[in-house]
């Protein structure tokens, strides 16, 4: 399958490592073939015309020029190909990305929180329940502000910078941010989505090759943007279990060792505003009492 992606490879696209990635590559590949055909077709015509109709060869122009309707056919075929790509591939593909999430019990569910300039990963631990997060509880050692009194949070795993997931299991990521907009981009997995403060954006993928994959921050987020690196390590299931156990032992203390320290890194702090956009105000993590704003 991957060998079909000739132009993409030729242009340097790294090999795909996720289940759906082939489809992304294919649409990109088709688009490139299509563009290539148009480009070389027109270029050939263009070069021919420039040479054939240069003044020294053709001193007198023909007022009427081309009389056939050939360009209409050409334009029609462009429309047709674009329509096929759009209706046949692009729209269904996106629908699959955003409407058909795998069932939670089969998947690894991770909350990912961006901040200037690193990523924090929050996993629910063995009980499958995320602990409550409260903005007031954010400290250096509790970067997400997990409520220590919430039983669901006791076994939660919080890691900074590096996430491990097992190969061949879907991963569902729910993205948010503490400060500005970031973008969680995994080029090898052919997946990316914005991390926007105040909202929770889900995305999913299924890694099919073990390895270490860089997470790029794909949205300008300040001076350390260029170094806002994360790592997703795709493990064989056994290694993943070992990692999980290791992390689970640390859980409760929630001391997150930081992976590759990002340049200009800030002390960690804070939780995303709202876990669930539809939440009731009672649960709304609140800003602490403030001195009034100017004029107040």
């Amino acid at each position: 399958m991957s060998s079909l992606a000739l132009i993409n490879e030729f242009l340097g696209q790294p090999p795909n490592a996720s289940e759906h990635g082939y489809q992304i590559d294919h649409i990109l590949e088709f688009a490139h073939w299509f563009m290539g055909a148009l480009f070389f077709g027109w270029s050939a015509f263009f070069v021919f015309v420039l040479i054939r109709f240069r003044r020294s060869r053709q001193p007198k122009a023909d007022h009427a020029g081309v009389r056939s309707g050939i360009s209409t056919h050409l334009e029609f075929s462009v429309v047709l190909i674009e329509a096929v790509l759009l209706i046949g591939f692009a729209i269904p593909l996106w629908a699959k990305r955003v409407n058909e999430f795998p069932p939670t019990q089969d998947a690894i569910l991770v909350h990912v929180v961006g901040q200037q300039f690193n990523w924090t990963f929050h996993m629910p631990g063995p009980d499958g329940q995320f602990g409550r997060r409260e903005i007031d509880l954010v400290t250096n050692s509790n970067p997400l502000g997990i409520d220590p009194n919430d039983p669901a949070g006791k076994d939660d795993i919080v890691v900074l910078g590096e996430l491990h997931v097992p190969v061949n299991r879907p991963v569902i990521i729910e993205l948010s941010s503490k400060d500005v907009i970031h973008n969680f981009c995994l080029p090898h997995m052919r997946i990316a989505a914005d991390a926007i403060p105040g909202s929770l954006i889900p995305m999913w993928f299924k890694p099919i090759k073990a390895g270490n994959y860089e997470v790029v921050c794909g949205q300008l987020c300040g001076l350390g943007h260029y170094g806002m690196k994360g790592m997703v390590v795709v493990d064989e299931p056994a290694e993943y279990q070992t990692w999980l156990k290791e992390r689970a032992e640390l859980a409760g203390t929630q001391n997150a060792p930081s992976a590759a320290p990002a340049p200009g890194q800030q002390p960690p702090g804070g939780a995303p505003k709202t876990e669930n956009p539809a939440e009731q105000p009672q649960n709304k993590p609140a800003a602490p009492p403030t001195s009034p704003s100017p004029g107040g």
Partner: protein
């Protein structure tokens, strides 16, 4: 009333020689004639010169950035030591660029190139200078508004430049100024509510928007009201159509951004939270705000302008190229009607495609299906326009004058840029490409070797009309060939970098990333920065012949007659340079804009103001192909 004559003509003493021209009694003073003029030609030239200087300035910023990208962390030789004196001590200590300064340069490069460079030159300068001449009008409908528009642009430009020199430096949030980043930018200790880069960016923008709105109103009214007798809509040169649609884009797309800018200004100065949700934690401390705002709202309003804006950048170039292609292939434009129809469709559709810049903001399948469809639809008229241009050349007698060289180069360059827009239109493919160098390459192919080449073509083409002299042809070619080669060496490799996964706005040029260490075509992704940067600097050198040629030819260029290109449209019936009021004889149009190589005629061009003779009429009736 006419206050333009009733106001006292200012300051003769600035120009002692005005007395010499005693016989011309209502001669305006030098200031009124060249600086505070209301004459569309002077305003057009003012716009053009300012715009070119800004263009060069924006390019210079990028040349500094390209050093950092190719040699990250190394001191910039020679000028590096001096730049801190100019831009402030925290920009390039020891000649080494800081990340903040890199971000400032990037944001200001984008802003300056688009809003202070290309829009003023492509729309305002060419629109002002050429459109009234092409439609046979004595001036714009509202000359004073026209001058106001230029001065609003001037104020906006000065504010934007000033922002480099305030504490903290110029805006750092990208030309898109995404919130919350821009909303909270610079708000550290010592925050001055007005004198900071981002706020000045916003204030400057309000002036630029005002300028564009006034200009747009003026252009549209002029084209509607002041067309010469007989110059019906379907006899308008294609350039006029392109400007007409462009003016509508500016008129209707800018105001929502203005609204957004006012809101961001409120956020920054009046502590509102239009774009800030509750519960943000910045630098480890909670932000004291009311919350309740939405970061996505800014993006909607920004791109509601942002997308039409890109057509503002390209349509005037289409227009210029169309004129030059017809003139130099000595043939009518092929499919004039479908061209006109296509620009109108582009204009309409460009208002409903904006969210294709927001594919990854958590967009559901319905909305994204809608925007994918409209985005692909809008590529069709572009294909039609380009096809018509190509086909126009068939059967021509092509002369490769300097303007024609630029115009021919424009076609494939725009083609590459436009074609690489197609994968971006599919959000599943853009998923991979979003914010990579692929995007940078996509749009630079359109705006740099595309629009900028179009502008150069226009400058070489209409220079004789503005000055009565041509620019030197040899130096024009010396300008052209290196520029063409360098542009491609700069931007082609960026597609590779993008496909490798290298992202834009990377201060270190990708040095710190494993993925940019992959080899492609012999170099690693990161190493490709070096040839790109060298090409950019050589490209800078290649502009020197142009600058010299430009200024030298104003005084010393070869003198030519009023219609040196043997063109057909009305501007060539006016004297060069045209006097105040433009035409000696008020022109009347009797025919279409591109009557080149009419059969049975001695000359291979027939100007629009030449009446149709009875013999010709009967011949046209017999041969429907001529009827067009």
């Amino acid at each position: 009333m006419d206050a333009s004559t009733s106001l006292p003509a200012a300051a003769g003493h600035h120009h002692p020689h005005t007395h010499a021209g005693e016989h011309e009694h209502h001669e305006l003073g030098w200031w009124r004639k060249y600086i505070f003029s209301t004459d569309h030609k002077v305003i057009g030239i003012q716009y053009g010169l300012c715009g070119l200087v800004f263009l060069f300035f924006g390019f210079s910023l990028m040349m500094i950035m390209r050093w950092q990208l190719a040699y990250p962390g190394q001191a910039l030789p020679v000028i590096g030591k001096w730049l801190p004196y100019f831009f402030g001590p925290n920009t390039m200590p020891d000649g080494k660029m800081t990340p903040e300064f890199y971000n400032s340069l990037g944001a200001m490069h984008g802003t300056i190139m688009i809003f202070l460079g290309v829009v003023p030159v492509a729309f305002a300068a060419f629109g002002n200078f050429v459109v009234p001449l092409q439609i046979g009008a004595p001036d714009m409908t509202f000359p004073k508004v026209n001058a106001a528009s230029f001065w609003a642009f001037g104020v906006g430009g000065v504010i934007m430049l000033t922002s480099f020199f305030v504490p903290g430096g110029a805006a750092k949030g990208g030309w898109t100024s995404y919130v919350p980043l821009s909303d909270i930018a610079d708000k550290g200790p010592g925050f001055h509510p007005f004198l900071n880069g981002q706020t000045l960016w916003l204030v400057g923008f309000i002036f630029l928007i005002t300028s564009s709105l006034l200009g747009a109103v003026n252009f549209i009214t002029t084209i509607i009201q002041l067309r010469a007798k007989g110059l019906t809509w379907m006899r308008l040169p294609f350039f006029v159509w392109a400007q007409f649609v462009t003016a509508f884009l500016l008129l209707l797309a800018f105001p929502p951004l203005e609204a957004a800018i006012v809101m961001q200004l409120m956020d920054r100065t009046a502590a509102t939270s239009f774009f800030l949700p509750a519960g943000m934690i910045v630098n480890g401390a909670p932000l004291h705000i009311s919350g309740g705002g939405s970061p996505i709202l800014w993006q909607h309003l920004f791109w509601f302008l942002g997308h039409p804006e890109v057509y503002v950048l390209i349509l005037p170039a289409f227009g210029i190229v169309a004129e030059i292609l017809a003139n130099n292939s000595r043939k009518p434009l092929w499919g004039y009607k479908s061209l006109v129809f296509s620009v109108l469709v582009i204009g309409f559709l460009s208002f409903i495609v904006w969210a294709h810049h927001m594919w990854l903001t958590g967009m559901g399948s319905t909305v994204s299906a809608f925007f994918q469809t409209t985005t692909l639809l809008i590529s069709i008229p572009s294909v039609i326009i380009l096809s018509a241009f190509f086909i126009s050349l068939w059967g021509g007698s092509i002369r490769f004058t300097v303007p024609m060289l630029w115009a021919t180069a424009f076609l494939p360059m725009f083609g590459i840029g436009g074609l690489t827009g197609i994968p971006l239109a599919f959000n599943s493919a853009d998923l991979y490409l979003h914010d990579t160098y692929y995007i940078i390459a996509h749009f630079h192919y359109i705006v740099a070797p595309g629009t900028i080449f179009g502008l150069f073509a226009g400058i070489y083409y209409w220079f004789p009309k503005a000055t009565g002299r041509t620019m030197n042809e040899f130096w024009g070619k010396v300008h052209f060939w290196p520029s063409l080669i360098c542009m491609n060496v700069i931007f082609l490799p960026m597609f590779l970098q993008g496909m490798l996964g290298m992202h834009r706005r990377w201060y270190d040029g990708g040095q710190g990333w494993t993925l940019s260490g992959e080899h492609i075509w012999g170099l690693t992704g990161f190493q490709w920065n070096t040839p790109i940067s060298w090409a950019a600097w050589i490209m800078g050198l290649a502009q020197i012949p142009f600058i010299i040629n430009f200024f030298w030819s104003i005084k010393h260029g070869k003198k030519v007659n009023d219609n040196p290109w043997e063109a057909t449209t009305l501007e060539w019936t006016a004297p060069s340079p045209p006097p105040h009021g433009n035409f000696v004889i008020t022109p009347v149009a009797y025919r279409g804009p591109y009557e080149y190589s009419l059969p049975g005629r001695e000359k291979d061009f027939t100007m629009q103001n030449e009446p149709v003779e009875p013999a010709e009429r009967s011949r046209r009736a017999a041969e429907p192909a001529l009827a067009h």
